[in-house]
Symmetry: C2
């Protein structure tokens, strides 16, 4: 069984240094809740985790399909509940591509494979929030 | 209603640059799945998100309680399912403190407040995995 490990070490105020795999990352809260904005906030990292998980799937699948693009972005928005604990109630994922030879059918197939088969973060977050997604070509 | 926004931009291979709030972070896969390990993997970021969320709660509550410590770490382990999509099935959180004047009752109260009341990431991940936690003093 594979196990992932991460740890964070408290620095000052609400700032922590995270170690995950061989990489380091500083986390902090923003000033509205007593932090100093030395790094991203933890909750938003969940959305980055989702974007990265599905983005890597799609990049990998499109490379195998030999589907070229000029640029590829993934945007994720998450709506927070009002009450504590504040959780994401709705999450919207947008896959944005630019390029001269974009094939919508191939791109939608790659996105669907990620969302329905491969992306573990999507599978997890779909259990806790209303997760929707769309593909946007040459916006 | 508050909404969080994040986006990632594809760079090369499986590497993406993430922007969240005013911060940047490079994500990548490791070489076993075709990446180049330029940054942390997306899924492990979920565990870092959890560590940071509850760590900041506990640091904040202990500051209000005036409970001093020499060091404070949060370790998180997540066991992955074997089948795709690979999701965390069990998550273990350890709060590790060192110090001469640690008050276990206060620390456990702070941890419990975070886990049961304030930490949105814990509340979300508890819905999808078996989430457990423990407090370790002067290991």
């Amino acid at each position: 069984m594979a196990t992932h490990h991460t740890e964070i070490t408290h620095r000052e105020g609400l700032a922590f240094d995270a170690q995950l795999q061989n990489h380091n990352l500083r986390l902090d809260a923003d000033s509205s809740v007593g932090g100093q904005d030395y790094g991203p906030t933890p909750k938003a990292l969940m959305l980055t985790s989702l974007a990265g998980c599905t983005g890597m799937d799609v990049a990998s699948i499109l490379a195998k399909m030999q589907m070229p693009y000029a640029s590829f972005k993934v945007e994720v928005e998450g709506d927070l509940s009002k009450e504590h604990p504040r959780v994401y109630t709705a999450i919207r994922v947008r896959y944005l591509f630019t390029g001269d030879a974009l094939d919508r059918a191939k791109i939608e197939k790659a996105v669907k494979l990620s969302q329905e088969k491969y992306c573990g973060v999507s599978a997890m977050l779909r259990q806790i929030a209303d997760l929707s997604y769309e593909v946007v070509l040459n916006p």
